[in-house]
C-alpha cells in the first residue's frame, strides 16, 4: 500500500514537473501574445494540480494536507482569473491575435 502511494505520487510529481517545464518553453517560444498566454495559463493550472496532488499523497492525513488543499483551491481560483483579466485587457487595448481573420475576407465568404 505504501509502495503504491509512493509510485502514484512519484508519477504525479513527474508529470507535474514536465507540465510546468512545457509551459515555460511554450511561453518562450510561442509566436504571439495570446498563444503565450494559452501555454502559460493552461500549464499553470495543470502543473499545480499534479504537483500538489503528488505532495498531498506523501503527506497523508495531516494539517499539511489541509493547507495544501487550501493552496490548490486558491491557485485554481486566482490563476485563471488573472489570465482572463490580462487577455481581456490586452484585447481591449487593441492587440490583435496573429491568427485573426481580417473582416473583409470574412464578409466576402
Amino acid at each position: 500500500m505504501a509502495a503504491l502511494i509512493d509510485t502514484l505520487s512519484w508519477v504525479l510529481l513527474t508529470l507535474g514537473g514536465l507540465s510546468v517545464l512545457i509551459g515555460g518553453i511554450g511561453a518562450l517560444r510561442m509566436p504571439d501574445l495570446y498563444t503565450r498566454m494559452h501555454a502559460a495559463s493552461v500549464t499553470d493550472s495543470m502543473g499545480a494540480i499534479l504537483v500538489l496532488a503528488g505532495i498531498m499523497l506523501q503527506a497523508g492525513w495531516s494539517l499539511a494536507t489541509i493547507k495544501l488543499i487550501a493552496i490548490l483551491l486558491f491557485l485554481l481560483l486566482t490563476s485563471p482569473t488573472s489570465s482572463y483579466a490580462l487577455a481581456s485587457a490586452a484585447l481591449l487595448a487593441g492587440k490583435r491575435p496573429l491568427a485573426e481573420i481580417p473582416q473583409d475576407q470574412e464578409e466576402s465568404e
Binding site: F74, L77, T78, T81, Y84, A85
Partner: protein, 324 residues
C-alpha cells in the same frame, strides 16, 4: 543540493537587477522588481528564514508593486535622460563595493559550526527561550521579548514613514482631467475578476488574522499580518473603486490605526514600569512570569500589526487620491 538551488536563484537575481538598471521604461522596471522580490523571498526560504521570507513576499512583491504602480500613474513612463558625471559615481560605487567584498573575507564560512554565532549566540537563545518565554517560534521570542526595544524602534520607523508620506502627499489634490465617476469605479465592469475578488477578500482577511496570532507557533507575526490585511483592503479598493474603500475604512480610522499601533506598544512598555518592573519587561504583566511574557508578546504583535496596516493603507490612499 540546496546550495546549488540558492546559487541558481541568486544568478537569476543578478540578471533581473541588470535588466532593471538597463531598461528605461519604468513600467518594465516595476515588473522586474516584483520578480526580484520573489527571488529574494525564495532565497530566504532556502536559508530556512521563514519569517523574513513571508515578510519579503507580502510586502515586496505585493504591496510595493501596487505602490509603485500608483506612483507611476502620476508621472511619465520613460526615464529621463541620464545626468552627466557618471565617471565619478562609478568610481564611488566601485570603491564601496570593493571595500564591502574585502570585509567579507573575514567572515566565517557559510554554515561553519565553529562560527561565533553558532557557539555563543544561537545556543543561548535556544536554551533560554523555553525557560523564560516558552513559545515554539524562537524568532518571535527574540523579536518580541529579548530584543523588544529594537522592535519598538522599528514600529516607530514605520510610523514616521507614514507621517512623512502623509505630509508630502495628503490633503492637496492634483488637477484631475478625468471625470470623477469613471475613475472611481475601479474594475467594476470587469465581472469575473470582481466576483472572484469578492469571494477571496474575506479569506485573505482571515488568513491575515491567522498569521497575526500564529506568529508564536510558526512563521508569522505583526509585520506580515499587517501587510496581508492591508493587501486585502487594497484588493477591495482596486475592484470597487477607491471611494468605496474609503467609505468602508475612512481616513480618520486610518489615522487612528496609525496612532494606536505605537501607542499600544509603548503602553505595554509603560505598563511594565507601572506594575513594578522595567520598561518593556513583560514578566510583571501576569502572576506567572512566563504567562506574562506570552501576553506581552501577543499585545505588542497586535500593536505592530495595527500600525503596519494603517500606514500601508494611508500611503496607498495618499497616492490614489492624487490621481483623482
Amino acid at each position: 543540493m540546496i546550495v546549488i538551488f540558492g546559487i541558481f536563484l541568486l544568478t537569476l537575481l543578478v540578471i533581473t537587477a541588470i535588466g532593471i538598471v538597463r531598461t528605461d521604461n519604468l513600467f518594465v522596471a516595476v515588473m522586474l522588481m516584483g520578480i526580484a522580490s520573489l527571488l529574494i523571498a525564495a532565497n530566504f526560504f532556502l536559508l530556512d528564514a521563514a519569517d523574513v521570507a513571508l515578510t519579503e513576499a507580502a510586502v515586496g512583491a505585493g504591496i510595493s508593486t501596487v505602490l509603485f504602480l500608483s506612483a507611476l500613474a502620476l508621472t511619465s513612463e520613460r526615464e529621463r535622460a541620464k545626468s552627466s558625471n557618471r565617471i565619478l559615481s562609478f568610481i564611488v560605487v566601485a570603491a564601496a563595493a570593493l571595500i564591502i567584498i574585502y570585509a567579507t573575507f573575514d567572515k566565517p564560512r557559510f554554515g561553519d559550526p565553529e562560527a561565533p554565532v553558532q557557539t555563543h549566540v544561537a545556543p543561548w537563545y535556544l536554551e533560554k527561550t523555553p525557560e523564560y518565554i516558552d513559545i515554539p517560534n524562537v524568532v518571535t521570542a527574540v523579536l518580541g521579548s529579548f530584543r523588544g526595544y529594537d522592535t519598538l524602534g522599528e514600529v516607530f520607523v514605520v510610523f514616521t514613514a507614514g507621517i512623512g508620506v502623509l505630509f508630502l502627499l495628503g490633503g492637496g489634490k492634483a488637477a484631475g482631467v478625468i471625470p470623477q465617476d469613471k475613475i472611481n469605479e475601479g474594475l467594476r465592469h470587469h465581472l469575473i475578476p470582481r466576483v472572484v475578488g469578492r469571494v477571496l477578500i474575506p479569506f485573505i482577511l482571515l488568513f491575515g488574522l491567522y498569521v497575526q496570532f500564529h506568529g508564536e507557533y510558526g512563521p508569522g507575526g505583526g509585520f506580515q499580518a499587517g501587510a496581508i490585511i492591508a493587501a486585502s483592503v487594497i484588493l477591495f479598493a482596486l475592484l470597487e473603486g477607491e471611494q468605496r474603500a474609503l467609505s468602508v475604512l475612512p481616513e480618520r480610522a486610518l489615522l487612528g490605526l496609525i496612532a494606536c499601533g505605537p501607542l499600544l506598544y509603548g503602553g505595554v512598555g509603560l505598563a511594565g514600569i507601572v506594575l513594578g518592573g522595567n520598561f518593556l519587561d513583560y514578566s510583571v504583566l501576569s502572576s506567572d512570569p512566563v504567562k506574562g511574557q506570552q501576553l506581552g508578546i501577543l499585545l505588542i504583535e497586535a500593536g505592530v500589526g495595527i500600525s503596519v496596516t494603517g500606514v500601508l493603507l494611508a500611503i496607498f490612499h495618499a497616492f490614489a487620491a492624487r490621481g483623482r
